[in-house]
Amino acid sequence: MSHKDTLLSRAGTSLVILLSALSLTAGSAFALTNDDCLGCHSDKSLTAQKDGNTISLYVDEATFKETVHAGNGCVSCHIEAEVAGDEHPFPMSPVDCSNCHDEVANTYSKSAHGVAMAKGDKYAPKCKDCHSKHDILKPEDPRSTTYPLNIPYTCGRCHQEGSTMTATHELNKHNITQNYSMSVHGKGLFEDGLIVTAVCSSCHTAHDVQKASEPTSSVNRNNIINTCNKCHVGIVDQFKKSVHSPLVTKTDKKLPVCIDCHTDHSIAQVHEKDFRLIIAKQCGNCHEHQTETYLETYHGRASMLKGGERTAKCSDCHGSHNIMPAHDPKSSINTDNIVKTCSPCHPKANLSFTTYLTHATHGDKEKYPYLFYTFWAMTGLLVGTFGFFGLHTILWVPRSIIERVKAIKNGH
């Protein structure tokens, strides 16, 4: 290539660059491009002082280009900078996401986080606290703060026990992240990387997070069945036909919902020891007498000792989501089904065997007179025997001491 050709080629290239630059800034003489911003903000050492802290003003262009906002100019969020042109004021007012995300912002403003924010709670999370600033990736991206595997960490930054937020706020629930990570949902997430498992936002929603006491909260007692139903459709179908469903039982008393038996953050796998050992207690919150009398029987007594998760629990006989009253032909404790219900543990069960009183108490004279009288006859026998021999022994003590002293004196 000759010298002349080279010169021509250089001039052409320069022209192309100049024209390109002009076309990009067309429409506004002072319009800023991302490149303009990055002229300063690609400098890793760029910092500023804010509220006494040194903050980095560096923006990683490569990462930003992968974010959901890659197609947006910096100034579409940092509006003040656009107006200012070359040198923008510092500090600038916070980015207002609601300019574009107005619907989400509206939901957020009514949520517990939004309300706290409006009240001036400095710990209330802003959009960027969960979504980050220049690194906002799609929730499907494993690097995103809102990717299922990362959500517990995102929420945990504030909600982990011992954080400044938990220390400064009065909260109903404690150790929620620890409990979650031990729960069936948490184990699915952390141990198996199961991204369809329930994470914080699955139950609490993302932007509409409300206290459980709020009637509109997704985790309010009255809404929790629908919330669980998002995943556990089959179970909820069964439950709706059971004696515990408000559709079946019309009562003024409180009917149980999912969390009453399964708990919330510490929800355990149902066949696991942890869960089996609390069943009687959970049912006992409403069925107090039944639990008390169950605990008097072999099943209940053994359940309190090591290995006790193996003995029959409420749900082993009554079922769980499909519990029906005993008179219903579909009930597991209906006379037609009871032998089958006992047989997994008692393979030779027969109908007479099933008349064993699994909730027996000797304290109810009207209902179980034979147990009442047996107990008191036995108690009488004990009191009588110990009364007589106790007296015999007590009277013997001084005499025996005298005999011993005598024996010692006689040289024995």
């Binding site: 007479s352 179980y368 015999h392």
Partner: protein, 281 residues
């Protein structure tokens, strides 16, 4: 066996001592494993279950010792049969032998004399078996009958309920557990005191392990038996200069004190628990 100047009289044969050893091992295990279930809501019961490795282990040991119990019951029957045959008496005379193990009118008299003795009267003219010892022996019979039959029902509930209503199992539970409370409470307090813990014997009367007592002890404790032996001229035949082996005495002390201590700890736990319940209700 070392020969000494002291004269000894055999009180329990090797076979009798073996039976009592079986009783001790099985009874103590049955009591510990059973009470852990009966008082499962108490911390001490939870600790017992943890120590044994869970309620299933307790259940297995309980049933194993139930088998030992039926076995020693059977051995006792053999013992009674052979002593009956050896006595040359007819069955009624054997059972109603005034010096036998069946309580009789003389025991009632001795009991009244004993209460008088407690208050400063003369020590009664006791024979080979004193009434509280007869009560212990007879208690094993009705204890095994009651606890054994109700226990078998609870061991085989499906089979039991083919012949009886299922809710009888609830009755069997009450009878089994309360009779067991009576039995273990009785053994670990009254029997322990009468036999081992009373000041005259404290901490242990090893005769059930070593078999013999000295002639002096016999003369003092059971004067009627001594006089009968003298009168019948049998004393020379039954007395010996052979003292129990010292290893046996040592072993008896260690084992006996261990058993008495274990039983006492259990019964104290039970008593404290019962007091707690009585306070609560």
């Amino acid at each position: 066996m070392a020969k000494t100047q002291t004269l000894y009289v055999e009180r329990f044969s090797v076979f009798q001592r073996f039976i009592h050893l079986l009783i001790i091992i099985s009874f103590l295990t049955l009591a510990v494993t059973g009470m852990a279930l009966k008082f499962a809501m108490e911390d001490w019961a939870v600790q017992i279950a943890d120590m044994f490795g869970g309620f299933a282990v307790l259940g297995a040991l309980h049933r194993f010792c139930a088998v030992i119990t039926f076995f020693y019951f059977f051995l006792t029957m053999i013992l009674l049969y052979t002593t009956w045959k050896d006595s040359g008496k007819n069955i009624f005379d054997y059972i109603l032998d005034p010096e036998g193990l069946v309580p009789n009118l003389n025991d009632a008299k001795e009991m009244i004399q004993t209460f008088k003795w407690f208050f400063g009267g003369k020590r009664p003219y006791y024979g080979r078996w004193i009434y509280w010892e007869k009560f212990d022996f007879m208690a094993v019979f009705w204890g095994i009958a009651v606890i054994g039959s109700s226990g078998l029902a609870l061991w085989f509930p499906e089979q039991f309920s083919r012949f009886f209503p299922g809710y009888w199992l609830n009755i069997a539970t009450i009878i089994h557990s309360d009779e067991a409370l009576l039995a273990s409470g009785f053994i670990f307090t009254i029997h322990f005191y009468n036999t081992h813990l009373r000041p005259e014997k404290f901490p242990l009367d090893p005769v059930i392990f070593v078999g013999s007592i000295t002639l002096d002890e016999l003369k003092h404790e059971r004067p009627r038996e001594y006089d009968q032996l003298v009168a019948s001229g049998e004393l020379d035949k039954v007395s010996t200069r052979r003292a129990p082996a010292s290893w046996l005495k040592r072993l008896a002390s260690v084992f006996g004190i261990f058993v008495v201590t274990t039983g006492s700890i259990l019964v104290v736990s039970i008593i404290l628990t019962m007091f707690k319940y009585i306070q609560q209700h």
